[in-house]
Structure formats: C-alpha cells, structure tokens
C-alpha cells in the first residue's frame, strides 16, 4: 500500500467513530423534524386566508371590495349588519380564521366625495411569531389589492380625480384580539414586531451562556481524562456529588460572567439600529413587573443548571479535548433550536409534535418566559420551571451515578439488572 493510501486508511479508521457520527445524526434528525413542521406551516400560509365579511354597503365600491374579498379569501362568515360582529368574530375564530372585515354603510359615499373609505378590520391573532403573522400579511396584501382596483375604477370613471386621494382610496381602522386582550388601532404585524424586539435578547443570551458554559464543563471533563487527573480526584475523600456540583457551579459562574459581558455588547448592538414603532406596550398593560423578572431569573438559572448537567453527562463520554469539541455540538444545536422556534412561531400555534419537542428542551423555557409573563400566562412559566428543575435533578442524579460506576474510567457500565434479564432469556 502506498504511503498516501496507508495514511488515508488510518485517518478514516480513526475518524469513523460513534463520537463523530452520533451528534451529527441527532442534529440531522432534529432538522428533519423542524423542516417537516415548518413545511406544514408554509403550506397553511399559501392557502387563501380565512375571513369573515360584513358588507353594509350595497353600492358600487362596496360591491367591488366584497367581490374581491370573496374571490381571493375563504369567507366563512357573511353578513350585512355590523350588529353581527360578535357572531362573526366567534365563527371566524372557531374556523381558525384571521380577521373579520367590515365594509361600512358609507364606504362608497365617502369615496365618491374623495374621502378615504374606511375598512374596519378586526384581527384575530393566534401567535406573535413571524410565521404566525403570515395570514394577516396575506389579508393586508388583499386590502392593498382592493385599494389598487378601486383606484383603477376611480381613474376610469373620472380622470380629473384628486391624484393623492386616488392612490389611497381605502384606509384601515384596526382592532386586534390577542390572548384575550383587545389592542385598538394596531395590527398583528405591529404587535409581533414589538414583542420580538422585547424578547429577542433573552434567547440570544441564553444560547450564548449555554454554548460557552457548556463547552467549559465538557472540556473540563475531557481534560481531567486527558491529563490523567481524574483517577487521583476520584480516590480523594470527596463526595461524587461535590465533584459534579463543583464543576457545574464553577461553569455556571463563569458562564454568567461571560453572559453579562455579552449582554452589555448586545445592548449596544441593538440600540444601534433599533427604531420605535410609536406604540408603547405599557399602554396595553404589557409590562413586566419585578416579580416577573424574578420568574425569568429563576427559569434562566434552572435552565443553565439543567444544561450544564446535560453537558456534564456528555462530558463523561469525552475521552480527550478533541472529542469534547464534537460533544459540544449537540448542546449548541439544542440551544439554537428553541431560539429560532420562539422567533418564528408562538408556542401556542406550533404543531403538537414540535410543541412537545420545544417543551422538552430545557433552554426553551427562559426564552418563552418573557412573552408568557407579559400575557400573565403563569401556568406556562411555572410549569416550565418545574419541568426544568426535575430535568436538572434527574440529569445530575444520572451524572453522579455514572461517577460511581466504572464507566468513567473504563467506558463500560455494569448493569446488574440487564445481566439478570439476559440470563432469564437464554
């Protein structure tokens, strides 16, 4: 065999290990699950938006608007009286629709007087993620399309019509219903934008802490093995629980220092190009109290401990510094996935499989907590905290158990119950 062939064969043999492939396979599976779920949302978005139409205007422009709405949207509720608004909202909500549009009695009359006709749009907002606002964007586009058609009609009827009016013969009067609250004068896109800018910092910081502190823990375990210090440590009069906890606490401490430094930088970064939407969340009672910040802090702290104990468990598999680098990859992915999910969709609007998957990742909870607390969804936050605390306790117990077995030094574990099972079977 040639020198090149000999070296290539040896390198491939060294690289073809479960440690190299298992994390990548896991990540591929996670991406495949996410892709399928997002594809489902996209397919939903390409369908015509589901709406309700209340047309009180029988005249020409009212008829044009109504026809276009019926043609390009799926109308599940039709009426000619504004008194039916509540019924309309109820029906559209039940049919998973996005809005009830009212064409008022004076719609045509106002346009004929060269005053903008007012579309009254009552939005039913399901979630605040980017994907959740696709349907409302479709309705907004449809209204723009109606606006254009009425412009054409006006120009055809009267070529001397006021130019600035003819470009925008329709205006919107909006009310959005979201999580049992009424937001007068703003659209779902505006609410989504405001909430995203409010709750973007925590997911990014959480992700960075987990990646940095998690890397520290895994590398620490790998170096104990590589530098041959682990055996000495394990024969000293110190409890296994203390070794595990000590490593986790130290990494959490360093992780938090790194997070503070990172947050300062991020604050400057965001303030550099942040722009005001002109809407204050406080006006709608969407303010986080001191108590809410304590809940977020607790959720963040527990998620960090859970994440680090998971890293510690992975670290027991690390043979050396090189394998530790590979093992940080799944943790990085686990931290990034909920960040993107919370950015693109609301937990409430996710498909069930993705909902379970997101809930199962401990890092999701501090990322979702600020938005949930804004809407006083304490069940979600407290439920998440309880889940993450249990996750951390179970993981730490498993790590301590691994520390008490031979697996840490020999890579194998003696399962007495498994042995008994094999004996019984054969």
């Amino acid at each position: 065999m040639s020198g090149l062939g000999n070296i290539t064969k040896k390198e491939i043999r060294e690289l073809l290990t479960p440690a190299t492939f298992v994390p990548i396979i896991l990540v591929a599976l996670i991406f495949a699950t996410m892709g399928n779920s997002i594809q489902g949302i996209q397919e939903q978005a390409t369908e015509p938006p589901t709406i309700g139409i209340i047309n009180e205007d029988n005249s020409s422009f009212g008829a044009i608007a109504s026809t276009l709405l019926h043609t390009h949207a799926k109308s599940v509720y039709n009426s000619t009286s504004i008194d039916d608004l509540q019924n309309g909202l109820q029906t559209v909500k039940e049919r998973n629709g996005v809005a009830v549009i009212i064409i008022p009695r004076n719609f045509t009359e106002r346009i004929m007087q060269e005053q903008p006709g007012i579309f009254q749009v009552y939005w039913i907002m399901k979630g605040a993620g980017l994907m959740d606002t696709i349907s409302s964007s479709a309705v907004e586009s449809l209204i723009a399309f109606i606006n254009m058609n009425i412009s054409k009609e006006l120009i055809e009827q009267n070529s001397t019509v006021n130019a600035s009016f003819v470009l925008s013969p329709i205006q919107r009067s909006e009310t959005t219903y979201f999580k049992n609250r009424e937001f007068i004068g703003i659209s779902p896109n505006t609410i989504s934008g405001m909430l995203s800018s409010q709750s973007l910092l925590i997911p990014i910081v959480m992700m960075m802490i987990i990646i940095m502190a998690g890397g520290i823990v895994i590398t620490s375990m790998a170096l104990e093995k590589e530098n041959k210090t682990l055996e000495t440590l394990l024969t000293l009069p110190v409890k296994r629980t203390s070794i595990v906890s000590g490593k986790i606490i130290a990494a959490a401490f360093i992780g938090l220092i790194l997070a503070v430094i990172y947050m300062i930088g991020m604050q400057f970064y965001f303030s550099g190009f942040q722009f005001s939407t002109g809407v204050n969340l406080g006006t709608y009672g969407l303010v986080l109290t001191t108590g809410d910040f304590l809940w977020i802090g607790m959720s963040l702290f527990l998620a960090l401990i859970a994440g680090l104990s998971l890293c510690m468990l992975l670290g027991t598999f690390a043979k050396n510094y090189k394998s530790a680098q590979t093992l940080t990859f799944p943790i990085t992915m686990l931290a990034m996935i909920p960040m993107f999910i919370t950015m693109f969709a609301d937990f409430d609007t996710l498909p069930l499989a993705l909902k379970i998957f997101t809930f199962a990742i401990p890092f999701s909870h501090p990322m979702m907590a600020p938005r949930a607390l804004l809407f006083h969804d304490y069940t979600m936050v407290i439920g998440g905290i309880i889940y993450v605390a249990i996750f951390a306790l179970v993981t730490i117990s498993i790590v301590v158990w691994v520390f008490k077995t031979d697996r840490l030094l020999t890579g194998t574990t003696k399962f007495k119950w498994l042995k008994g099972l094999k004996r019984r079977r054969f």
């Binding site: 210090t229 055996e231 024969t235 000293l236 110190v238 077995t405 030094l409």
Partner: protein
C-alpha cells in the same frame, strides 16, 4: 510477640471488563507497616487490582477489606485512609506545584493541611520550581510532585503503581528511600513494579501475578531460596514460564 493486623485482606477477587476476566480470583493480605509488591508482566492484572483497592473500580466477585472496612460498602471511609498514585498520573497544568499540593490538602482536615503542604514540598524537593506552573515541569519533576502528593497526606495505606516509572537512576533511588522511610513511620505500602531490583530492595513480601492469577507469594529471600534463583527476576521467569 505482637499480633500484626492485616491492613489489606483480599479474598478471591474477580474483576471483569465485559467478557474479559482481568483478575481471576486472587487472594492476598498485607500486614500493617509492610511494603507489599505486586509483580507481573504487562496485562497481568496489577493495575486493575490496584484500581480496585483504590476504590476506583467495582468488583465482580470476592471481597476486599481495607483497614477494617469492606470495600463494597465503605468506599468513602476507605478514601480517607488511603492514597493512590496511578502509573501515568498527571497534575492540573494551570496550577503551580505548591497550589496543586494545597488543592489536594484542602480535601483533608483543615488543621493538618498546612503541615501536609510543607511535607509535600519537602518530599518533592523541587526547590524554587515548586512555585512554577506544572506544565513547565520535566517528567521527573512531575513524578516527584505526584509522589509528594501521595505521601504528604500521611495515609494509612499508600497504593503506588510503578512509583519510579520514568525517573532517572538518582531520582528513582530517592523515591525508593522515601517509600522505605514512609513504611517505617507506620504507613502500609502496596506497590507494583516491573523493576525486579527495586522490588527486591523495597518489599517485605511480594506476590507474582500472571494472567490475572497469583502464581507465587512470599518474602523475596525465601522465594529466591525456594527456586534456587539469584534474584527475583529469575524467580519470576521460572514461576511464569516453567
């Protein structure tokens, strides 16, 4: 005549790695204050036996009693009484030699920690280099630091796996003298070695281990007479190959 209590009592010890039997039912005992050598070729089961006695590995069969404590039940108690020096041990590279000794001493009685560190520094004999980072030490300096670490805690039982491994003749000689002195002060020593001369010089009694079994046990002089051998090396070759 004083009755010597067994510091270590091993009965039919079995240790398996998966389907491979590393140690196949060995038995031996070590008296208090004795230097006992476990001698054998590579892969004979020496290090596995020492790791078991150091509470690092669980056992698959038999029993081990150390200083009156059952290994399977009271590993935490045993760790307070023993000190283990692995063959290829290392130290934390970012620490200085002194900081490393201090780190280890902190696991013991806080009142005794300063004296332990002083003793450790004395054993290592590293001079001013004790305050340098460990990653700047030569192999010999590192081994002296680790021997100092193992013996400074005044263990009742010192388990030393190839204590002079990688050391030059002069350093090895110093370590051997140190082990002798430590045993005289009451510490029981269990060591493994490839170096037959070292074994002959150091050990009160030895056990020859081959393929996970003890093939011979006794005082070096008695064994040499029994096999009509000039040294332990000859005894070893005869017991293993004849």
């Amino acid at each position: 005549m004083a009755i010597c209590m067994a510091a270590v009592d091993v009965r039919n010890l079995v240790k398996r790695y998966g389907s491979m039997d590393a140690v196949k039912g060995i038995s031996f005992s070590i008296n208090e204050g004795e230097i006992f050598g476990l001698i054998g070729p590579n892969g004979a089961g020496k290090t596995t036996t020492l790791r078991v006695l150091s509470t690092l590995l669980s056992i698959n069969g038999g029993s081990v009693t150390i200083l009156g404590h059952d290994l399977s039940k009271h590993a935490a108690e045993i760790r307070k009484l023993i000190s283990y020096l692995p063959e290829d041990a290392g130290a934390y590279k970012n620490l200085s030699g002194r900081a490393y000794l201090q780190f280890i001493a902190n696991f013991f009685d806080p009142k005794e920690a300063p004296a332990m560190v002083t003793k450790g520094i004395e054993i290592t004999d590293l001079g001013v280099r004790i305050d340098d980072r460990v990653d700047t030490y030569s192999k010999g300096m590192m081994r002296r630091l680790l021997v100092g670490r193992a013996l400074m805690t005044n263990p009742k039982l010192a388990i030393l796996d190839e204590p002079t491994s990688g050391l030059d003749v002069i350093n090895a000689q110093e370590i051997r003298k140190l082990v002798k002195t430590t045993a005289k002060s009451g510490t029981t020593v269990l060591l493994s070695s490839h170096n037959m001369l070292e074994v002959e010089y150091l050990c009160d009694r030895i056990a020859l281990i081959s393929e996970g079994k003890i093939v011979e046990e006794g005082k070096p002089k008695t064994l040499m007479e029994k096999y009509n051998a000039r040294n332990i090396e000859e005894v070893f070759i005869r017991t293993v190959h004849e």
